[in-house]
């Protein structure tokens, strides 16, 4: 049970730093000057979320989190491509 605490594991500290940087990045998503800035912020936050899911799966030894991370990464790819195609068409 001690092993599953976030604050004794260095990987848990890594997850806390990733959550903090994602919260800082939400400034770029909310107040970005153009549409492309917001899409860059969303893409980066989603990649950080994939790494956070992998770290939680490693700490709790519940390895189905890795499947969730792979699915979220593929959704990120399709969503980013669709938003880029929308940005090409919209003027």
């Amino acid at each position: 049970m001690v092993e599953e605490n976030l604050l004794v594991n260095p990987f848990g500290w890594a997850a806390i730093i990733l959550v903090a940087t994602s919260l800082i990045l939400s400034y770029r998503v909310l107040f970005g000057p153009t549409l492309a800035d917001r899409i860059v912020g969303i893409n980066t936050v989603t990649t950080k979320t994939v790494v956070i899911l992998a770290i939680f799966g490693f700490i709790a030894k519940e390895y189905f989190f890795l499947d969730l991370a792979i699915v979220l990464l593929m959704v990120n790819a399709v969503g980013g491509l669709i938003l880029a195609k929308y940005m090409e068409g919209a003027k």
Partner: protein
């Protein structure tokens, strides 16, 4: 020992990428910081997890598959966003003048 070194390297890459996205002046420079630093940081942290894990070999291989998919997908999406932003009408503000650097 080496997994903690890789973890520290990945975390520092992530933090400096966040600083770059917050402080750079333009979409294209922000995209440069995002794609380089985020892809490198995520892959380094996932390789550290694959080394430090005590799981059987197939689950370690799943961490490496995740790192490979990040290396495949993230530059592709960044390229598409840069192309879309240029066709959307955003002109780059930063101009690099190498001749003025050499001859002040």
């Amino acid at each position: 020992m080496i997994e903690y070194f890789l973890l520290l390297l990945g975390e520092s890459i992530m933090v400096f990428g966040t600083l770059g996205i917050l402080r750079f002046p333009d979409v294209y420079t922000r995209l440069h910081a995002a794609t380089k630093c985020d892809t490198g940081g995520a892959m380094t942290i996932l390789i550290a997890l694959a080394i430090a894990s005590e799981a059987p070999l197939l689950i370690k291989l799943k961490f490496l598959v995740l790192a490979f998919l990040i290396a495949l997908i993230n530059p592709m999406v960044s390229h598409a966003i840069a192309r879309g932003a240029y066709k959307y009408g955003i002109k780059p503000e930063v101009v690099v003048d190498m001749y003025a650097w050499d001859n002040p």
